[in-house]
């Protein structure tokens, strides 16, 4: 039942690598003297990158005809959720020691926590409804519901930019990438690209052996 292509295996390995590296570094004491913050940063970063990767799947197919990617789209989204869940767990349990009053004050006071929390709730909802069963049960609504991933991604970029002290070049770079990926999903643009691609494909076919046309 679980037969993976080599590509799928590579994607799973890459998605789990940050976790393995993190556990490795915790075990060997390679983290800084402020280890909780390190873990928060690293899990947050992994979640963000995987979310962008999940959103890159469809555009990659549109532009390059990379169909294999479609098979890992859901997995990438779930990995993003997985890292976000660790990220939140570390914040609530390890960093704030389950002091919900303090967490509430932070949530009410800091816009970056608020948008992070909102993004997490969206990811949670999408992860819960990501199964085939829910897909069937929700029918057309499922598609609409899962479009919320775009909202989550934008919230994550805000979160990412707002936690930076000053230098937001990295969040800007990832945001630019996200915007590009979202633009490539706009139906008209997507159709245009698909048309261009199929025309080019047929052109290259034209260059085939001359006799085939005769």
């Amino acid at each position: 039942m679980f037969r993976f292509t080599r590509f799928q295996l590579a994607v799973h390995a890459a998605a789990l690598a940050p976790l393995v590296a993190l556990i490795w570094d915790i075990a060997l004491g390679n983290l800084s003297v402020n280890p909780i913050q390190d873990i928060t940063f690293r899990t947050g970063k992994a979640a963000m990158v995987l979310l962008v990767a999940a959103l890159a799947v469809t555009p990659l197919n549109t532009v390059f005809g990379f169909r294999q990617g479609l098979r890992v789209r859901r997995a990438l989204g779930l990995y993003a959720f997985f890292y976000a869940a660790i990220h939140l767990f570390v914040y609530v349990v390890v960093d704030y020691g389950l002091d919900f009053y303090l967490i509430w004050l932070e949530l009410a006071e800091k816009r970056y926590v608020l948008v992070g929390f909102a993004a997490f709730l969206v990811l949670l909802l999408l992860a819960l409804t990501s199964t085939r069963g829910w897909q069937r049960r929700l029918g057309k609504t499922w598609k609409k519901l899962h479009r919320w991933i775009y909202v989550a991604a934008v919230l994550v970029m805000l979160h990412y930019a707002w936690v930076q002290k000053s230098d937001i070049r990295q969040p800007l770079a990832f945001s630019a990438l996200l915007i590009l990926l979202l633009i490539l999903r706009i139906p008209r643009i997507r159709r245009t690209i698909t048309r261009l691609r199929s025309r080019r494909a047929s052109k290259t076919e034209d260059k085939g052996p001359a006799f085939s046309k005769i």
Binding site: G29, N30, S32, V33, N34, P35, I36, Q37, V94, D95, Y96, G97, D99, L102, L105, E106, E109, K110, R111, Y112, W162, V163, K165, S166, D167, R169
Partner: protein
Amino acid sequence: MVKALFKVAWYDSIINMTHWTLSGPRRPQTSTQPIVDFSHPSFLMITTSQIPSSEITPKHIYLSRRKFLRGAGLAASAAALAACGVPAATPPPDPTPTAVSSGEVAPPQTGATTDELGDPLTPYDAVTNYNNYYEFTTDKEGVARLAKDFPTSPWQIEVGGLVNKPGVYDLDDLAKFPQEERIYRLRCVEAWSMVIPWIGFPLAELLKKVEPTSKAKYVRFQAIYDPEKLPGQKTRWYNWPYVEGLRLDEAMHPLTILATGLYGEPMPPQNGAPVRLVVPWKYGFKSIKAVVKIDLVEEQPVSLWMAAAPNEYGFYANVNPDVPHPRWSQRTERRIGELKRRRTLPFNGYAEQVAHLYEGMDLKVYF
């Protein structure tokens, strides 16, 4: 090796914290009564902790801690961790180094093991390997390596502006000021903190020498600008050089020092060698490193961080749990080496000494 030892300290503190969460009472911070002679300007040089160790660390934890150490085969670091569980009454603790030392390097010396609130010094290794020093890099752990060969001698500080006796002070001149050890808490605006035994002298001593005129209201500090040696200054993201400022009365306050060393050693380059400001009741970024210029001025100086984000960083930047920051919790902080957050104290615990400087000021406006 050094890192491994500190790691033990960290895991050790987890054990400690877990015990606390399981067995109730938090470490009694308010009930500890440091016996401090405030009449003497060096009242912060606490060399004898007056707190029975039983109040600091329950005995079973202290013991389990030692067992843990032995189990880890790191008995050599027992002395290092004595900082947390030193049996304190009389006689005064011997000058065993409290920093984590590797054994290869001569252990740094300090006379004290705790600050005046009874909290242990942050290990030397942590103090010197976790630095916010953007002139080198924004990677706190990368500073030490990049700063290793930063030349800090010869060095000159130009003191001028609205003074009667402007002057240029080199390292020998600075060394002539009576150096003393000050155990201060350092509270970073990023909500982490340390306890550091600085060596230095009151800034007031230097300022008295140059005789500020009656027009002088503020002190403006400027750090070195040299992008060839300070790679971080090549980025245009910040408005180099680093500039900081104090009101004259803050600068003259006996707690404000120019530090030339820590843990009994000359200042490591990553901590701001050869000379830096230390203002313990303000967020760490006020304590400008590698100072080359001190000017007395009439107008309030604009610091680098005020220019970068005026809504986040004010001129005063007093540690204040009641003034939130958009990013980091200022209500609580993480003491490096501890797992649980602590409450942040107003003026970083120095309210008694400095609160009067701000009488009648709305500290939410003048943050």
